[in-house]
Symmetry: C2
Subunit: 229 residues, 2 copies
């Protein structure tokens, strides 16, 4: 095969693109390196020149996804002169906005990541997301502490707990995805919506805020995301 030389960043990025597509399609375990390099048009040697192992690709992919997600939400945050609760809600509102903006793609990704055989993939992405989000959220919580509004013994620990709590919605989301297309779809979306509201309530309470302070969902949000095509 002809030898094609590309800038390392490009090659690495292309390899991640192909790996992502295949991992999402058939799961991490069921994807072989041969499939990845075939799709990317690179040799075995080329692949291992850029990534030390299959595992390393997964790690890099998780980090990329997490950073992509967070950078678009967190950048516009520092400027605002809002109080902590305001910042947190603005943060969440911006996240919802971005989710709605490309709901179809998000939905496709969800279909993949929430499949049972992709649980490892999910956890890697989740862990990477928590890692990048942790300092951001911890600072907001610390601010809320200083303002005397958030009542927690430790801002960083609180951030860790709150972020980990997100994983508890995994099963509920998976159920909703599974039900989509069936006659249970409506009920499943309703159930997921209630679940997400409860999740918001739980975060309120953990942070020592009055019930309903934090808005995780808005009317129609869950349905809009889950029915996107």
């Amino acid at each position: 095969m002809p030898r094609v030389v590309k800038h390392p960043d490009i090659r690495r990025s292309e390899l991640l693109d192909c790996a992502q597509a295949l991992f999402f399609e058939r799961g991490y375990e069921n994807t072989t390196i041969n499939e990845i390099i075939a799709k990317a048009g690179v040799s075995k040697g080329g692949f291992y020149h850029h990534y030390a192992s299959k595992e390393a690709v997964l790690e890099a992919l998780a980090v990329r996804l997490a950073e992509q997600a967070v950078e678009r939400v967190a950048d516009a945050d520092a400027d605002s002169g809002l109080d902590a609760l305001g910042r947190l809600n603005a943060f969440l509102a911006r996240a919802r906005r971005l989710k709605l903006d490309d709901a179809p793609r998000l939905r496709t990704a969800f279909d993949a990541v929430f499949r049972p055989e992709n649980i490892v993939l999910y956890h890697r992405i989740n862990t990477a997301s928590i890692t990048v989000m942790l300092p951001v959220l911890a600072r907001i919580i610390a601010q809320g502490q200083a303002e005397g509004v958030f009542k927690v013994p430790d801002a960083e620990a609180a951030a860790e707990i709150v972020l980990h709590l997100g994983a508890s919605t995994h099963d509920a989301v998976a159920r909703a995805i599974k039900a989509s297309g069936t006659e249970d779809e409506d009920a499943a979306i309703e159930a997921l919506d209630r679940r997400l509201r409860f999740h918001g309530l739980a975060v309120d309470r953990i942070l020592g805020l009055p019930d309903g302070s934090i808005q995780f969902v808005e009317p129609g949000f869950t349905r809009a995301v889950m029915t996107a095509r």
Copy 2:
């Protein structure tokens, strides 16, 4: 090799014992079926007669561990005429008691399960535990709801959230284990203890209880478990 026939339950149990020892020792991924069958004294065919795959062994092991853990804690629960909060605290106290009773073994298991390469093992056990604990906890919470003490919109969802929240302590426990034996051990145990108290506080709040209602740790508990040999 001579052919030894045993009752299927015995064989399966022995295979699980060996798999557990090896998974704990070198991790799930790094354990081969050949190692398992060598240790158990069974042939390849014998193994696959009882378990469909290596994955199936992991699943069976996780379920067994979860059921073992829950049956010793949950059985003495039904009789008591306590209110929900009392039951929950009695439940937790009994769990602590059992943990202290064989702290050394528990500590050994922790050393294994909380190693980074055993994260898959951890999650399987955790998921299985949540599955068996969910109905137990959900009933207690429902009782507390009926008593007007627990303020949650949905008992089952609350149970799910609370149980999932347990996983958020994973990293803190892992850090404490990693620090044991070093000069940071004391500080790490202190940090973990604070973290576990915060965890209890978070559960209080999620369930709508006054701070400090639920006791996850008692003085010296964390240190006793973490320094056991």
